[in-house]
């Protein structure tokens, strides 16, 4: 298991576009991926679940990975989030 906590910097929070980016990035890995915000955990590969958290800008979220490529997934998703201006 691997996990990382990231601060969302996208001014609109995890809105529809950032959620799409996140879910597409998560879909590249076989690991079980979860997104946690405010005590609620959702499947990072499912867009409706991710959006249902309604994460605002400035909030901390935790990505939790479990599986063979857990480490790679965490690193990969974190880097995509930075590249796309979702987090710093």
């Amino acid at each position: 298991m691997a996990q990382v906590t990231i601060t969302i910097t996208d001014p609109s929070g995890i809105h529809a576009r950032p959620a799409t980016v996140l879910v597409n990035a998560a879909g590249q890995y076989t690991s079980d991926l979860k997104l946690e915000y405010n005590g609620n955990q959702v499947n990072l590969k499912s867009i409706m679940g991710v959006m249902s958290l309604a994460v605002p800008t400035g909030a901390d979220v935790t990505i939790i990975a479990e599986g063979d490529d857990a480490e790679a997934a965490i690193a990969g998703i974190a880097s995509v989030m930075k590249d796309q201006g979702l987090a710093q």
Binding site: S12, G13, I14, H15, A16, M51, A54, P56, T57, G58
Partner: protein
């Protein structure tokens, strides 16, 4: 595509009062003319290459003219061999002088039982089909709950199979494989089957199937306005699909922009069901309900509330 006077006679069940030997004449202009001003002596802008329609107005005015003037004006009116024909509406019968000049000038005189405005509307509509811009489209077109949907995609992606399933779900086939798209006016494209393909669909392994015989009269539709293009694409990882449904893709057909969506397909996915829901969603938007926008608004509010 050429339309002749004979086609019009057959289509509108017109009576030939004179000149049946010239009915093979081609109609070269889609507009109609009512020659009232010409009968009054004004031939300056006489559009003689158009079909001329005589209503009650023209015929009543004509009967008010003295014999010589009447003959002279009719001769002028019938002078151009390019004029396809002259049509009396309301079952009006021209007098002997009229017919005599028509015989002399070899003019084709026809008669319709319909009222003038009604007849002209129908005729313009009919002619418009021959003169409107047209193009061929590849794919399958159906009427899905009142929405004209063209399904496109690479061959063997399952277009016809999806169409067949949609037909069994109660939707109507317009045309399989090749669709003639006619732009009735900018913004309005209508699809129909080439005569040969009407009611037919080709199913790999089964062959050509007559949908009308197999599924009944409710399973086919002659023509339908094209409102939505659904492109079936192989479900490929990495390709980005619209997850929310907010982005608007369009494809231009002739001069008309048509809404388009990309539908990822893979074995086991019920493509027909997906296409049906896409059509219904399109219809919903047509009545002002945009689910995607509604959701986005909700999300925006919720995020604001969490800030």
């Amino acid at each position: 595509m050429n339309v002749t006077v004979q086609d019009i006679i057959e289509k509108f069940k017109l009576t030939i009062l004179n000149g049946k030997e010239h009915v093979e004449k081609a109609v070269l202009d889609e507009s109609l003319s009512r020659p009232a001003l010409e009968l009054a002596g004004y031939f300056e802008f006489y559009p003689s290459d158009r079909i001329q329609v005589f209503g009650l107005k023209e015929m009543t005015f004509l009967s008010s003219l003295d014999l010589e003037t009447k003959k002279e004006r009719l001769r002028k009116l019938f002078a151009d061999v390019k004029t396809p024909c002259f049509i009396m509406t309301r079952g009006l019968i021209p007098d002997e002088t009229f017919l005599e000049i028509a015989r002399e000038m070899e003019a084709t005189i026809l008669q319709s039982q319909q009222t003038t405005t009604f007849f002209m509307g129908n005729l313009v509509n009919y002619l418009n089909d021959f003169f409107a811009p047209r193009t061929d489209l590849h794919g399958v077109m159906l009427d899905i709950k009142g929405v004209g949907v063209l399904i496109v995609g690479e061959s063997s992606v399952g277009k016809s199979e999806a169409a067949l399933e949609l037909i069994t779900r109660g939707h109507q086939l317009v045309s399989d494989d090749r669709i003639i798209a006619i732009e009735k006016e900018p913004g309005l494209v209508v699809g129909q089957a080439p005569k040969l393909l009407e009611n037919m669909i080709e199913i790999r392994g089964v062959g050509v199937v007559n949908v009308l015989s197999m599924y009944g009269a409710g399973a086919v539709r002659k023509r339908k306005r094209l409102e939505l293009i659904v492109e079936l694409v192989d479900w490929t990882k990495g390709l980005e699909y619209d997850r929310i449904g907010l982005s608007e893709h369009k494809q231009t057909i002739l001069n008309t922009e048509v809404q388009k969506i990309m539908l990822p397909v893979r074995p086991g996915r019920s493509v027909a069901l997906l296409i049906e829901s896409a059509a219904l969603n399109h219809r919903l938007r047509g009545v002002g309900i945009n689910s995607a926008q509604e959701f986005i608004d909700r999300l925006t509010n919720q995020i604001k509330g969490n800030e």
